[in-house]
Amino acid sequence: MSIANDLPVKEPSSSFMSDLTRVLRENIRDYGMFIALFIIWGVFNSLTDGLFLSSRNLSNLLNQFGYIAVLGIGMTLVIVIRHIDLSVGFLAGFLGAVTAIAMTFWGLPVWVVVPSVLILGALLGLLPGFMVAQLGIPAFVATLAGFLIYRGAILVVTEGSGTIIISNDAFNALGNGFIPNIFGDLWPGKHLLTLLVGAIAIVWFIYNELKGRRNKLAYGFEVLPRNIFILKLVFATLLVGALTWVLASYNGLSWTVVIVLIVLAIYQFITTQTVLGRHIYAVGGNPEAAELSGVNVKRITYLVFSQMGALAALSGMLFASRLQSATTTAGTLFELDAIAASYVGGVSAAGGVGRVTGAVIGALVMASLTSGMNLMGLGISYQYIIRGIVLALAVIFDVSTRNR
């Protein structure tokens, strides 16, 4: 998938550095969060003497960011259509508890529970959808009600038992397991399947970029200067390659990362390639114009809240699986982390702007902050303050680059 739109570039290249600064300046909104991510990683890595970018820590970090990343993806679409969903944190916690009860107390098999809870989440998402689309209640209020209700609901269902331990290994693998090491004997110490997946991803990315560039040239659209384009490919290759290499030196790709990537791929496809995606962004860009253009704004609103519910269910299950239990406080502040991830990822509160890939990078930024500060042994109070500052900086950056 493309990291950034190849925005118009006027004349053919003069010098490499001037091209580079110009492309960076013109696409600062797209590249900004990557730059932020690298600065954060670099700073933490030097402050922790290389501990931060170690295989073990990166692997852990990626497992922890999964449940926020999927929420961030869904939240991006909600914000794109000019709404907000504050209920998803405790909805995730509640559905995690439901999952635990279904498996531990009712003894239902995991292949029944997981899809059922996803469907339940999608159905519960229709409730704020109904209040917002049908009754015209502001999403902030409608979902604040959900926030309180699900908070209470978690306490009700865990009243007798307190924390519910989940002992199903298949389910717990979602948050803690890694993909199997096929042909592992061929290269001891390296996770071959992970390397293979990484290699395929790189080849696929380069192929797609080349195809897109050729297409744009065929239509006479402006593309990145050739040397900058090559730099972009090299950069992406190195990034994915290095990440895969580091992970392959530990336990390999985790199931959490695989799930996030699958969700991301589906959402990226829907938002950029389909009629549905275009309609979602049209509703966000101008609901009146969209309605008059034959887009069913109500239907889109229902759908977006419903997918948010389904992703909250996924998030809740990832979190429960990670902890191997459902706790009474699960889901606390998830919604705010997801909203922060979306904003760091470049979504605009005015509607119609924001990418799901951005939300995943945003979630990675927020998770990196938490992980890095934990490694440094920084107190939780300061952690909140620093995360708040980073969120404020992200939005300031967004506003100050909006009219470029």
Binding site: N215, F221, V275, L276, A282, A290, E291, L292, G352
Partner: protein
Amino acid sequence: MSDNVILEMRNITKEFPGVKALDNISFAVKQGEIHCLVGENGAGKSTLMKVLSGVYPHGTYSGEIYLNGELQRFNGIRDSEHAGIGIIYQELALIPELTVYENIFLGNEIRKGMRMDWNETIRRASEMLAKVKLDVNPAAKVIELSVGRQQLIEIAKALSKDVRLLILDEPTSALNEDDVDNLFDLMRDLRSNGVTLIMITHKLREIMRIADSVTVIRDGKSIVTLDAAKGEVSEQVMIKHMVGREIDNIYPSRTHKRSEEVVLEVHDWNVFDPVIDRKLLKNSSFNIKRGEIVGFAGLMGSGRTELALSIFGNPAHYKVDGELTVNGQQGHFHHPQEAMNAGVAYVSEDRKRNGLILIQDVRENTTLANLRALASRGVIDSNREIQVANEYKTSLNIKTPTIQQKVGNLSGGNQQKVSLAKWLFVQPNILILDEPTRGIDVGAKFEIYTLMNRLVEQGMSILMISSELPEVLGMSDRVYVVSAGEITGELPIAEATQERIMQLATMN
């Protein structure tokens, strides 16, 4: 500099990234005159006024501004207001839920110590209302007043700040004929009280009525200043300078191919708005035949837009009853999508609010209403989409570097063309155009008229709602006149005159 020049702007150049909006422009206004500023969209009129009023602060442009012979360096609107310059924008800047007196003194509040002095505020507001000859209760909420009255309140607000130079940006674009007369009387009044007025407008007829002098701007340069007293101002001359060429007839002729086949028929149509509890249309009946342009004339707010919307899937959820027959099929539409499927398209009067998605590009806007035609199983064929957008860019002469340009960056005329492209791509056989040329320049108007002719010659039928009588008379085959929610007359074009239409439009 002669001594009765109040304002002189010298050698102003203002650049935006990639565009020179003002190119070494000079502009002078005499004390106590009504000076009209005219030019095509994108010519630089609004930019020039924003430089004058301090919206673009000193230092972001080059050149000098002299007010009463003194060099001015405005760092913001407050500075220019302080110097006696007031500006009233096309989009009114009143707060609908506040009262008239609160609005008049907003940002300029009258205080007694720490507290608001409401009694004095109301007294002074009444004075200002008297000055603009507006008879409303100062305690009324602005939202309850008509657009024409709101405009007068804007002027009252400017007068409360002691303006000596008042700039009006397209003040008549949302006014009906009566309100325009009223506004012009007030402008003459202000002039005799020593206020100097600058009016930006597209409407040459209005310039003929009110201007003392006219400056024509084209491509960021001032082309000519004409003096009405010397008889230099005429529509022909202004158009010639605006477009840089002569346009003999801005309404192109066409070969009439209308048939007697009725494609749309409305019978006993009643529309009721439950939100404001008002009947918008009463017992209206009309029809449209294949290949004709039917003009809908009337005053602003007479119910023509509501009529169109109530036919086009009723997105505002009015209560509608009556018979609708479209292409032989009888029945109401319950969503714009249904109307589109039946071959009806509606191009909104307010392209920015209801027509376009300004943050999306030309391509996305062009294809939005008919994406399904470009998709299989919900996946868009992006190559075909680009082809389609490029075809419309060429055939409608949309002036944009590429179809990747955001629509918000285009001029009004080109935005309107994108709006039209979107609806033509739906391939309707009945096209409803609501004020198709509002706020766009003469050149683009001519292109849109030519396009309309081409479409009806191909067998399309057009329902054109227009408040510009010359446009109605120049383009229609038949005219219906709407007055206060009722169709008060149907005129074949041969019998339609401005006087006859105005008479019918003001019947109720």
